[in-house]
């Protein structure tokens, strides 16, 4: 299968967006849904074909056993200067090809799942079903465009595009104030991050004079123009700003852009709220694909980050902290989607940390020799996490669809009623907890190995977070499916949902079981060469043991209804409350945006404008007016007055002239 078919992979969703968006209203719901799924199916098949061809075909992309980037298509889109050109291209390299698979798989599952999930809303036919499918197609297009980008600017463009599709989908239930608020928040927070991304691009392009990742002839490999960039930066080495090199600033700014999309602390606040969107959307965008865009971005620029250790340290610290922070919050959430959202944040932080330790543990020279375990692990985890997290979200969606509530108080004991969902959820939990042979074990193990190589402290910290992960995931699982008998309402019994919703669960469950055996270290490495790794039994054993401890703890506390959780809650009420309120980050943001920016900046500026600037103009007008009124008194219309003045004037002139004559 020719690699140029990637164009079709990207183009079909775009076409579907316009087609469903413009013609959907006329077509009716069923037809729209089926067409959407069919379109996505074609895209998925093509994407698989392209990815398999890229990885396993012996096309021109493999040189000496090293996979190079292939630029399929790269026209100019926006020429800033003769050399600085933003292009709209399609490039395939290992991570792009892997992402194609991830995105199309999840998107396909979500398209199918939505046929059932979106057909009704609390029993009423869902309004805007067509709009939903159009937006899904738009998102898929944007995300695909993002991963196949040939240059930094294109990534930025698609960052914006996914931001907007995410906005539209979070705000899908646009009559609900919470959804509007959440969508607005998501957009603005990521927009703020994108501003930093833009600054990073500006600085980087200013010093390197290019946006491109790859050399023009495409085959030469990943870092050719980047190497040029490195040289440029090194030669501009004196360029510093506030004590750090401009490169460090640029890369940190770009990371902030990625952190916004990937919900790193402190820009994570939008993600939990984004759960106001329909659950399939949460699964697609806010668990599997869009939120890893930041990780993807850092991975894409990995060769640059390798040079600039300072930026990597920042990422490392932010990632490690976020992983723990989000995991801690996830332990106490009662809304299952929010708990999953925090779990997502934590897992993405794992990937970020993994990338960061990978760059920082090695010097530049070793990297060139082809070592980059953390990078590979990160991408591997991205892949597996997408699968099992999407699975977990789709399960959550099925549950919510069945009980019409997000709160786990309304669930409990659902295992009896929804066995398929329960098993699928369990697979997901095992995978995320890192129990072999499920997918998560293999990827997380690699991450931990990479962390231990960076330093013992980093490894222990991340292992602890991994244990916490196992604990909170099983807490959620038990609270949903066990704990106590479900209070069955007579009018409807919760049950496994229609086949369109169940089939994706089964497929994703199966993938979660086997995804760990994908030979990722052969396929996805930062320089394209195969990476020879073997299981580090010490680390693996430790992490499995920690995970088991976490699961055991969760079992003790939450399997059967008991008083232990309440006791714990009372014992650590301060901590519990803080975690439950997400350590008051939202309140802090609320304070800054509303009290500081809105009340202390916008309102005074508007006041200043009306009263001062405008007032000044009005003052000018009034002064003119008043002066006119004043002068008007002279034009009294009284002839006698005029004559008097006339005579006096004449006399004055006479006197003056006489005086002049006398002098």
């Amino acid at each position: 299968m020719p690699l140029s078919l990637t164009i079709a992979v990207v183009a079909i969703p775009l076409f579907m967006f316009f087609f469903l968006g413009l013609a959907g209203v006329k077509m009716g719901r069923k037809l729209t849904g089926v067409l959407g799924v069919l379109g996505m199916l074609v895209t998925t098949v093509l994407a698989y074909g392209v990815a398999l061809t890229y990885f396993f075909g012996d096309g021109p992309q493999v040189v000496d056993g090293v996979r190079k980037a292939v630029i399929v298509f790269n026209p100019d889109w926006l020429s800033f200067t003769d050399t600085l050109v933003a292009r709209m291209g399609i490039a395939l390299d290992p991570i792009a090809a892997m992402m194609l698979v991830v995105i199309t798989t999840i998107s396909m599952m979500v398209h199918l799942y939505s046929l059932g999930y979106m057909s009704d809303h609390h029993g009423h036919p869902e309004k805007g079903f067509q709009r939903f499918y159009a937006d899904l197609a738009l998102f898929t297009f944007s995300m695909l465009g993002l991963v196949v980008a040939t240059n930094l600017f294109q990534i930025f463009i698609f960052f914006e595009m996914v931001g907007v599709s995410s906005y539209l989908l979070i705000g899908f239930y646009y009559h609900s104030p919470a959804a509007i608020h959440a969508s607005k928040k998501a957009f603005i927070v990521t927009r703020l991050a994108d501003l930093f991304f833009l600054l990073g691009i500006m600085i980087l392009s200013f010093y390197t004079g290019t946006f491109d990742f790859f050399n023009q002839n495409g085959m030469v490999g990943m870092t050719d123009s980047m190497e040029a960039a490195q040289t440029a930066i090194t030669s501009a080495g004196g360029a510093t700003f506030m004590g750090c090199s401009v490169m460090a600033w640029a890369l940190t700014f770009i990371f902030i852009g990625g952190a916004g999309k990937s919900a790193m602390y402190p820009l994570h606040i939008w993600l939990p709220d984004a759960m106001e969107g329909p659950t399939p959307v949460s699964a697609l965008i806010h668990a599997a694909t869009m939120v890893v865009a930041g990780v993807f971005l850092v991975a894409r620029l990995f060769p640059l980050y390798v040079i600039e250790q300072g930026a990597m340290e920042v990422i490392c610290v932010v990632g490690a902290f976020t992983a723990f922070y989000a995991a801690a919050i996830a332990c106490v959430q009662s809304d299952i989607k929010r708990a999953l959202a925090f779990s997502t944040i934590s897992q993405i932080a794992f990937m970020m940390t993994s990338l960061a330790v990978s760059a920082s543990q090695e010097g530049l020279i070793e990297i060139h020799h082809g070592y980059g375990l953390g990078y590979m692990a990160s991408m591997f985890h991205l892949f597996t996490h997408a699968m099992f997290k999407a699975l977990l979200f789709l399960c959550a969606g099925a549950i919510i669809h069945a009980v019409h509530s997000n709160e786990n108080d309304d669930m409990h004991g659902l295992h009896k009623y929804m066995p398929i969902t329960s098993i699928a959820f369990l697979i997901g939990c095992l995978a995320i907890a890192g129990i072999p042979p499920f997918a998560g074990f293999w990827s997380k193990d690699e991450i931990l190995v990479a962390c231990y190589e960076k330093g013992l402290g980093w490894g222990i910290w991340m292992s602890m977070v991994a244990g916490l992960t196992a604990f909170y995931m099983f807490r959620i699982y038990y609270l949903i499916f066990f704990w106590k008998e479900h209070k069955v309402h007579t009018e409807h019994r919760p049950a496994d949902q229609v086949w369109t919703m169940t089939v994706p669960l089964i497929i994703l469950g199966a993938i979660s079981c086997v995804a760990g055996f994908v030979p990722m270290h052969d396929l996805v490495t930062w320089d394209g060469a195969a990476l020879h790794t073997q299981l580090n039994w010490t680390v693996a054993g430790t992490s499995v043991a920690i995970a088991c401890v976490g699961i055991a703890l969760a079992t003790v506390m939450y399997y059967k209804e008991n008083a232990l959780p309440a006791k714990m809650k009372n014992a650590f009420s301060g901590l519990w409350n803080a975690a439950y309120h997400r350590f008051y980050m939202d309140e802090l943001y609320q304070f800054i945006t509303h009290k500081v920016i809105f009340k202390a900046v916008c309102v005074p500026i508007a006041w200043f404008d009306r009263k001062f600037i405008d007032g000044f103009m009005n003052l000018l007008a009034d002064a003119t007016n008043q002066a006119a009124y004043g002068i008007r008194r002279l034009q009294s219309g009284s002839i006698q007055g005029y004559v008097y003045l006339y005579i006096m004037g004449a006399l004055l002139i006479a006197v003056v002239s006489m005086v002049c004559v006398l002098i």
């Binding site: 926006l78 800033f80 104030p177 607005k184 501003l195 833009l198 392009s205 809105f598 508007a606 103009m617």
Partner: protein
């Protein structure tokens, strides 16, 4: 007359003929008025497209002269006043923009009432001025057309406006006239020094630029006058306050034309007259105006965040976006200036679209206060979707025009070697976040959420003329957004002479 062979003159003749046609119509014969107005506007669009073809052909054929389609007729020899015509890439795209906005404006005022004939008469007189301004390269003729474009605004707002229209019309006219007064002084000053000692003076811009004879100390006085004169129309802080009131009171089509085209006269004039003819002072004093425009960008955006009247929001947003135009022009490099023109195009179309939609919504709900509206998406989905698209264009969604323009500006500005300019670029760039805040705020309140007023449920969606008018603008916005390089190729080379002139100054 030889000048009649030049296509440019028809951009003035066609509106004037339309004026004549309208004058013959009966005020009650709505269909005749519409037919004449629509025909005039369509011919203008056709002419503009043809002009683009001619321009591309000329450039394609290797004609690299600064302006093409040059021709002139002497008007008043003692003062060397000529009707001199000529266009470069910037004028061409501006003419194209104006033609489309006039076209959309005619359809947006399809049901104009009362006095439709008089409305369209003034409307076309205004467009005569606009087109005349863009095609002339003679200082006096430009100024004359500039005034022709400004004056009808008073009547259009004062008679057909809404709300506090007398105040707004008076304020707008007086402030713009105040700007014109400065401008006239500057133009006279330039004319007096348009040629070296002993040679005949000239009003022709190309000639003046070639002579480059305005003494430096005079430039230091004339440049601020010219820049402020045009800057008032370009809504530069602190001379922008006519804009919120004026837009709020103006009828739909007038808001469209005003924000869409008239405000562009300011940016165009700043570049064509102030900077091009007086590069020395531009280089020396640029930083002052750069600071002011930088303030405009941020200030307009923050002010827009707390407004509750739809038109005020847009007016302040225009202050921010037009500030960006002047900001980019003052960066003195080709990329940023190209971005400025793109931004003019983008802002013109997008704001016209905004005002058209606001006018349509206002025509139904009879309120523009966002606190009294909500859930419009349920009631009028077409207008709602249009508004969202306009909003996304405004906050810079790739694929719509705003993104390409802003990015060109920021990327170009950041290429400036001076740290001051680069830091200011960052300040300017931060407006994209604030823009998102106010756009999403208004979209959230106006379109989404629950319906606030039960009477609104009975309102209808857009009629065919409204749909047509907005669709034209949306398509234009999308075309610029999707194929920016097409426009950049037309515009970009036009800035070479200016950049060269500025470069000479810096070199000295």
């Amino acid at each position: 007359m030889e000048i009649l062979n030049n296509i440019l003159i028809y951009f003035v003749i066609v509106p004037v003929l339309t004026l004549g046609g309208l004058a013959l119509c009966n005020n009650k014969g709505m269909n005749a008025i519409r037919a004449v107005a629509a025909t005039g506007a369509t011919v203008l669009v056709a002419l503009a497209l043809w002009l683009v073809c001619i321009f591309l052909q000329a450039r394609g054929a290797g004609d690299t002269s600064e302006m093409i389609l040059l021709s002139k007729v002497s008007w008043y020899a003692p003062l060397n006043i000529e009707l001199a015509l000529g266009v470069d890439g910037v004028s061409v795209v501006m003419i194209l923009l104006s033609a489309f906005i006039v076209f959309a404006g005619v359809f947006a005022s399809w049901k104009m009432n009362p006095l439709p004939k008089q409305f369209f008469l003034w409307f076309f007189l205004l467009s005569t001025g606009v087109f005349g301004f863009f095609i002339s390269i003679d200082l006096f003729t430009m100024f004359m057309f500039y005034e022709v474009a400004l004056i009808p605004m008073y009547l259009l707002i004062g008679v057909w406006g809404s709300g506090n229209k007398n105040y707004s019309a008076m304020k707008l006219t007086l402030m713009l006239m105040g700007g014109s007064a400065f401008l006239m002084l500057a133009l006279i000053g330039i004319y007096m020094h348009s040629a070296p000692q002993g040679q005949p003076l000239t009003m022709n811009i190309l000639q003046i630029a070639q002579n480059n004879a305005v003494p430096h100390d005079w430039q230091m006085y004339l440049f601020p006058m010219a820049f402020v004169g045009f800057g008032v129309l370009g809504a530069m802080f602190p001379f922008h306050t006519w804009s919120p009131d004026g837009h709020a009171s103006a009828p739909t089509a007038v808001s469209m034309l005003h924000a869409g085209v008239l405000m562009k006269l300011g940016g165009y004039g700043c570049f064509r007259i102030a900077i091009y003819l007086m590069p020395f002072a531009a280089n020396e004093l640029g930083w002052i105006f750069l600071t002011l425009t930088g303030i405009s960008i941020i200030y307009g955006a923050f002010s827009a965040c707390v407004q509750t009247d739809l038109k005020y929001i847009n007016a302040y947003s225009s202050v921010s976006h037009c500030g960006m135009v002047l900001f980019a022009i003052l960066m003195f490099n080709q990329t940023a200036m190209t971005g400025a023109v793109l931004q003019m195009l983008s802002h013109g179309l997008m704001t016209a679209l905004f005002f058209a939609l606001i006018g349509m919504i206002y025509g139904r709900t009879h309120t523009r206060d966002i606190r009294e509206m909500g859930g419009m998406m349920h009631i009028m989905p077409y207008l709602g979707v249009g508004y969202v698209i306009a909003g996304l264009a405004s906050l810079g969604l790739p694929g719509l025009s705003g993104f390409a323009a802003e990015m060109t500006i920021f990327m170009g500005s950041f290429q400036h070697p001076d740290m001051f300019h680069r830091v200011f670029t960052i300040v300017g760039a931060s407006s994209i976040v604030v823009t998102a805040v106010y756009i999403l705020r208004v979209v959230g309140k106006l379109l989404f959420g629950e319906v606030q007023n039960e009477h609104h449920r009975e309102l209808t969606d857009a009629s065919w003329d409204e749909r047509f008018s907005t669709a034209v603008l949306i398509v234009c916005v999308a075309i610029i957004g999707c194929f920016p390089n097409f426009f950049i190729n037309i515009i970009s080379d036009s800035f070479l002479p200016v950049v060269k002139a500025l470069g000479n100054v810096v070199g000295m």
